[in-house]
Amino acid sequence: MTAYIIRRLWQMIPTMLGVILLVFILFNWVGGDPAYVLAGKISNQEQIDNIRRQLGVDQPVWVQLWIFIKQVLTADFGASWSTNEKVSNILATRLGPSLTVLGPLLVLDTLFAIGLALAVAYVRGSLTDRTVMIVCTIGLSISVLVYIIVFQYFFAYKLGWFPVQGWGNSFTENLFVFSALPILIGLVVSIAPNLRLYRTFFLDEINQDYVRTARAKGLSENRIMWIHVLRNASIPIITHLMAGLPGLLLGAFLIERFFSIPGIGREVILAVERSDFPVIKALTVYVAFATMASNLLADLMYKAADPRVQLK
């Protein structure tokens, strides 16, 4: 087990280097000279030269790359180009609000999607099943934007059940007052695709021999579905959940933007709008690292879910 983890971590290094290289090429070469982006349109040559020296872009490519690698390793990307706030500080302070919305959202979404998917998989082929699937397909096709705009207008602006937007300082207020509508919207948006996907996972299991055996020995339907089928279908569900975990951090960027929640997703949008390269670079690299870590975690969780899995 330990050997496996060490080997996997070792194998991550080339990918990490690749991510660093990709981000480096993207921001230092594809977009042109970053000094011009930072200096903006009104600037003289002297200013630009100063900025170039400051950013290190007057150095040879290898030195520039080394500077970037050092930044990644020490988590010191300097200050944001637009607000002068330290990038590490931005990331640290924006994580909390994002997690306040996304943590409950992930838990509720997983519980609801699994529960509903089990239910419709159990009555597969029936009118209920088909209706739910049609509703899901249509629900999936409506743009996320439409959900957010309409829900925000209707529930917050028109009915006044929730605040239209905002964020406070106390955690409980944030969670129960300001996050409530964002979480509701997040649920509406994410349940449809997850329900559809989990249903197919359960359908794969429901016709297996072990289900018939369990029925033959007189187990209750509840036990068969919740214990036997769920456990066996958990591997693809774990894969799906873990693969989506880092993306989730950004996935709610639209919600964060609409509701002015000072989270990571909103920060990305702001950074892109302001061409704030250090923030985007830092986020891209670290979220990529988080993705690799969660992939490893997913593989370890397989083992826990299914003892037959051999980690190689």
């Binding site: 990918t15 042109g32 999936l140 409506i142 743009s143 996320v144 934007l145 439409v146 933007r257 891209t284």
Partner: protein, 397 residues
Amino acid sequence: MASDTALKPPVRTLREVPHTVSPGLWALAWKRLKSDRVGMVSLAIVAVFVAMMIASGLGLIAGDWAKESGVNYAPPTFLGADIEGGTPAAPAGPAAQTAPATEYKSDVVDPLADVLAEIRGEKAPAGAEPAPAAGDAGKSVDPLADVMADIRKDAKAAAPVVAEARAPTLPLGGDKWGRDVLKKTIKGSETSIFVGLAAAAVATLLGTLFGAVAGYYGKWVDDCFNWFYSVFNSIPYLLLILAVAAVLQQKGTLTIILILGLTGWTGTFRLIRGEYLKHKAREYVQAADAIGASNVRRMFVHIFPNVSHVVLVQLSIYTVGFIKAEVILSFLGFGVPVDVVSWGSMLNEAQNELILGKWWQLASAGTAMAILVTAFSLFTDALRDALDPKLKGLAGA
């Protein structure tokens, strides 16, 4: 031995049995697709949208989408002109009161309206000074009169043509400047579908090319591409798109196609690579090798037709995804430029209009997109079932 005996009988029977051409993969798939009613209906809807895109691209329909043909925020025809009394659905208070529901010629009314708008427009920044009688009356009914006058002034500045007929209602309503929402939706579908299709073509092409090379050559080539794949795959897709959008400063339809296409190839790569790994060891490829076919010929003339159904399904899946992505990017202002209308930019405008109670642009763009995406998704499912019946059980029909 076994293959020898299996091979001989068909050679003999071929002469005895009257020769019939057995249907190929595509003919069979088409037959299966035709029997799928949902698939055919969705194909028809998709075809209508694509026809709309082409017609709009050629300038046959909705060419004059930017024309301000209706009054500001003209309501949809089926609601009538005066759904919300007192709101500035009509440009000039007096005119609207005399002839609320009928279409009027602006050469009769507009001169007055213009003066009014000008007065309001000039008065508004000066502060809360008492306006002339007409303007005052307008104000007392409607708190947004000043805003409307401003907007109207902007609209006038943009289009100095004064003597034109402005309809009080439009088929699906009008936007802030009185542009026809129906025409905007059609024009928007042109942008959104074109971007979706073109970006899907780029992504599928790259994925297929990389996947074919990696799967076919294997060894270190495969390792290289796999490394490349894992690098791209470890950055969440959306973040990658936004990062590229941040770097590419110039906005344009081509830019957004490239952003989506260059970042989206990984899914196809994985699938095609697997297919090539499987196919390269098959007998027909060995036979191609034996008759002296080059590597490239084996990859693209011999193997490719056998995996092309995977490519087609991928193309379809990508198109749906990219249409959605384009709408979000354009909404955020990272997509198509401002002078190009897309469903995303329409939703962006509609967001503010909704607060004023003008919901029709939101409804039009949202519904058009939902219909297209639903039809395209159902068509994709049908296409996959038709091309690969083995998958049907997995999809859970």
